[in-house]
């Protein structure tokens, strides 16, 4: 019944607020122009002043300050960052701070009731407490599910929240359960380029804990993006198949075939000008850029299956580059 406690006893949320908000801090740094806020949020992860936050342009200055719940504003030092997870650790000179213990973080499932703490819109100043919002975890899923939709290097699992938690300035804030136990940190604002919606999500602590601890200990080494690692050493590209696409003039140029080079794999397979490529394998392709990006995951020597729309027909072709026999035609990895 704990899951329902937020509704059953509203006072409980107020208690959770009192014990949790002092562990969330306001971070001030670079920005402040053209829609780039110069503030974000962070959480205290040790009594002696280690602060976990997101790695962003806000930290891109020598003058980062951290605002504590008691109104103190202290200069912060960037200890390190993991650009792949987009998390950073700061250090302030302080003692006895109320803090979260990353090793005691809880794991959430869809349906978990949560509270989000952040300095959204920079509305809290000085000793004013950060804002608290309530919501539910809608799903635990991977951001990579739709490559090209969200511009973020992070591809791991996230808690998607049904409340609008990821507002300007909220990144780095805390996602806790109704008892105030830490579950994740709020991510940066993510805009879905397909439907122009914004994602509200948090990075689970378990996904970032190892990196954070290594940064704290000063022995962090950025790992190679596992997604990048999946790419072959030498990839395929449309030119290698003899496909000339229409010029990339729009944000989302439809991947129409403009020309097919004579005696190329494309011509041999039967591809024609004005074919619209819509599938690579079973992955939906919605722009010229996406097509090129998707091909980067195919080894130059492997066959590739393209599905195109020609008039009213859906046609499937299998192409294989001859570049294997003529390395000069391939692209650099």
């Amino acid at each position: 019944m704990l899951a329902f406690s937020l509704f059953a006893a509203p006072a409980l949320a107020a208690d959770t607020f009192e014990q949790t908000h002092p562990k969330v801090v306001k971070i001030y740094g670079a920005g402040g122009f053209s829609g780039m806020e110069s503030y974000q949020s962070g959480i205290v992860i040790s009594p002696d002043g280690y602060i976990l936050t997101v790695f962003s342009y806000v930290l891109d200055t020598d003058y980062v300050t951290v605002g504590l719940s008691d109104g103190r504003e202290l200069d912060a030092r960037l200890i390190g960052a993991d650009p792949r997870l987009e998390v950073a650790v700061l250090k302030i000179e302080a003692e006895g701070l109320p803090c979260f213990d990353l090793s005691k973080a809880v794991k959430l499932t869809a349906g978990s009731r949560v509270l989000a703490f952040s300095n959204l819109f920079g509305v809290a100043l000085g000793d004013e407490p950060v804002s608290m919002q309530k919501g539910t975890v809608s799903i635990v899923t991977k951001l990579a599910a739709r490559r090209g939709v969200f511009e973020t290097p992070y591809r791991g699992p996230v808690y998607v929240i049904d409340a609008i938690t990821n507002n300007p300035g909220a990144a780095g804030g805390a996602l806790v359960d109704t008892d105030g136990c830490l579950a994740g940190i709020l991510g940066k604002e993510l805009h879905n380029s397909l439907n122009h919606t914004w994602l509200n999500y948090a990075l689970p602590v378990e996904e970032i804990r190892k990196s954070v601890e290594e940064i704290e200990e000063g022995k962090f080494v950025a790992e190679r993006d596992p997604e990048e690692a999946r790419k072959p050493q030498r990839s395929l590209d449309p030119a290698a198949l003899g496909i000339v696409l229409v010029p990339d003039v729009l944000e989302r140029t439809p991947p129409y075939v403009d020309r097919v080079l004579p005696s190329s794999p494309a011509e041999k397979a039967g591809l024609q000008p004005d074919d619209l490529i819509i599938l690579v394998g079973d992955r939906l392709i919605q722009s010229r850029r996406e097509l090129v990006e998707e091909m980067e995951f195919v080894d130059y020597a492997d066959p590739i299956e393209l599905t195109v729309i020609r008039g009213r027909n859906l046609l499937k072709f299998t192409l294989q580059s001859t570049a294997g026999r003529d390395p000069t035609r391939g692209t650099q990895p």
Partner: protein, 580 residues
């Protein structure tokens, strides 16, 4: 029979077992039913407000049985003085604009068409805690064709928030922040607590790149601020917020420190200086410039409130009179401005909506009842209500007992608290004060502020002259008299509520008369010889000597930081006219 009874029992047992399995915690169900009950209680008082042309609109809430309702200034701004209000009973009621607070984004309107309106009670927004369950009610996106309010639930996300002025005037000080969905059209609607009490009026959201829809961050004007303004809004005036006359900024340690101060303001005369640390305002602790702005922003122009500051480690407690935040022209311009600030949706035309159709097709002609309750005058949003309240205060005072039909001079006698006797005569154009050794004569010149006798009283004689003048001549013949609204009287040791205030101007001075709203009696008057001087304050008490007479038993005269004199009134006589 037996068999069917047994069957019934088994069925019942089974049903109970199934229900026990399927139903959640009893506490959850109880919370749910409490929630439903609170919404049920509250929703009948919620308004969907439309301008007569049916374009745009917002929300509101009725707060008194006789039909006074609150909404946002920016909701009524496109309406002019006449609007229509849909209620949960499905009917649309005519309403007239009463008072406007363009700075606080609040408007008071009055509904017609029912003897008793369902209304919501005002709660205590200072008691709201982050995490408290709340719900917003209103007409987002102008969805409700049947005027049933849309309910959105959330929690309090922050309290005592300060939102910088947007545009020229609008300032949300000391507001509540909620994650309940507040969308265009919700403006002016209430934010309720779990009991269905009004905590605030929803009016502003943080909108940025995501467009004008809810982003989980909405701000409500606290109902406690509106309680301060209720009286001044009922005056039918365009009311202003307050300034201290000093700029308060933060020092190196984040404290609220006076950075600059005007030497013409009351706080300066009370001793506040540059460099002083503000530690309290209006009975609230102040520990940052923001908390000072929050504490100041909830007061109307013209109130006198306690303030504390620290200098050299010593705390000083003073009372300060708050001046207006904006110039008169600035306020009038804001009212006339065509551009309206926050969410201002335009409904899409929808032919299936019968009720909104009738609204749209309503002749732009103003209904008679609204026309009868509206009077135009510059500086007022609706002068009709000023005259009405002025008359109420006057009638209340006169109901005590009239000073008599005679227009002759008043003669007051009695002992002085400091020893000795006095005899005071207040006439039609002069006054005299006889003490054991001296006699002071005063004559009303063209500028009453020129002769502030007796010395060091701040003008006790002209002040008492104006007291008699109001009683004898009445507000119509006194000079220019308007109803200010309600204000506290912290200088009085006898009265701690909000008094009804009439402001009269005559021969270059301004006089504020404070009346007890329950008893109708005059509690005090303050005569200001000019805008930059301390007034002469006279506190009247110990009424009821002779058959509930309007003549008090005691007058305490105060000027600046000192009591000037306390006079007991043992003899009161109205001389026959001409005899002096």
């Amino acid at each position: 029979m037996n068999r069917s009874a047994r069957f019934y029992c088994i069925a019942l047992l089974l049903l109970t077992a199934v229900r026990a399995l399927a139903s959640p915690d009893a506490a959850v169900l109880e919370a749910e039913s409490r929630r439903i009950a609170a919404i049920e209680r509250a929703k009948d008082a919620v308004l969907a407000i439309f301008p007569a042309n049916g374009r745009g609109g917002g929300s509101g809430v009725v707060v008194s049985a006789d039909g006074y309702a609150l909404t946002n200034f920016h909701v009524v701004q496109p309406c002019g003085y006449y609007m229509q209000c849909g209620m949960a009973d499905g009917a649309a009621y005519d309403a007239v604009l009463v008072g406007l607070d363009p700075t606080g984004d609040v408007a008071l309107i009055k509904l017609f068409g029912r003897d008793v309106f369902p209304h919501a009670e005002m709660g205590d927004s200072d008691e709201a805690r982050v995490g408290d369950w709340v719900f917003a009610a209103g007409n987002p996106f102008l969805l409700a064709a049947d005027f049933q309010p849309t309910i959105t639930a959330g929690i309090i996300s922050g309290v005592h928030r300060y939102q910088l002025p947007a545009g020229t005037l609008l300032e949300y000080a000391d507001c509540l922040q909620t994650d309940a969905s507040v969308n265009p059209g919700n403006s002016g609607g209430p934010l309720f607590d779990d009991q269905g009490m009004v905590l605030g009026i929803n009016g502003r959201c943080s909108f940025e790149k995501r467009g004008r829809v809810n982003v989980g961050v909405a701000y409500a004007i606290s109902i406690n601020q509106i309680k301060h303004f209720m009286g001044v809004l009922r005056s039918g005036r365009i009311v202003d917020h307050a300034t201290l006359g000093a700029r308060v900024g933060r020092d190196d340690e984040g404290r609220a420190v006076v950075k600059e101060i005007l030497d013409s303001c009351d706080a300066y005369r009370r001793g506040l200086r540059e460099g002083d640390e503000v530690v309290g305002f209006g009975g609230r602790p102040v520990n940052s410039p923001n908390s000072f702005l929050n504490a100041l922003g909830i007061y109307p122009k013209g109130w006198r409130v306690p303030m504390s500051f620290r200098r050299d480690g010593r705390r000083h407690d003073i009372l300060v009179r708050l001046a207006g935040y904006h110039g008169r022209e600035e306020l009038l311009k804001a009212i006339g401005a065509k551009k309206s600030p926050p969410p201002q949706p335009t409904p899409k035309p929808d032919k299936n909506r019968k009720k909104s159709e009738t609204l749209k097709n309503a002749a732009p002609a103003v209904p008679q009842i609204v026309a009868d309750h509206y009077k135009r005058k510059e500086g007022f949003s609706n002068y009709y209500y000023n005259e009405l309240e002025r008359k109420n205060v006057w009638d209340g005072w006169m109901s005590q007992s009239k000073p008599g039909e005679s227009r002759g001079p008043w003669k007051l006698t009695g002992p002085l608290a400091s020893g000795g006797e006095y005899a005071l005569v207040i006439g039609e154009s002069d006054a005299s004060l006889k003490l054991s050794s001296t006699e002071i004569k005063w004559t009303a010149g063209d500028e009453l502020g020129d002769t502030l006798l007796p010395p060091h009283s701040g003008g006790m004689m002209p002040a008492l002259f104006l007291w008699r003048r109001l009683a004898v001549e009445g507000p119509d013949r006194f000079g220019d008299v308007y109803y200010y609204g309600t204000a506290p009287l912290p200088g009085s040791d006898r009265f701690d509520g909000l008094a009804d205030v009439l402001v009269g101007s005559y021969k270059g001075v301004v006089c504020r008369f404070y009346f007890d709203p329950a008893e109708g009696r005059l509690l005090a008057l303050e005569m200001f010889p000019d805008e930059e001087s301390d007034p002469c304050e006279i506190y009247f008490s110990d009424y009821g000597g002779k058959d509930g007479s309007m003549i008090p038993g005691k007058m305490r005269v105060r000027f600046g930081d000192e009591d000037f004199a306390t006079l007991r009134i043992e003899g009161f006589k109205i001389e026959k006219q001409g005899e002096n």
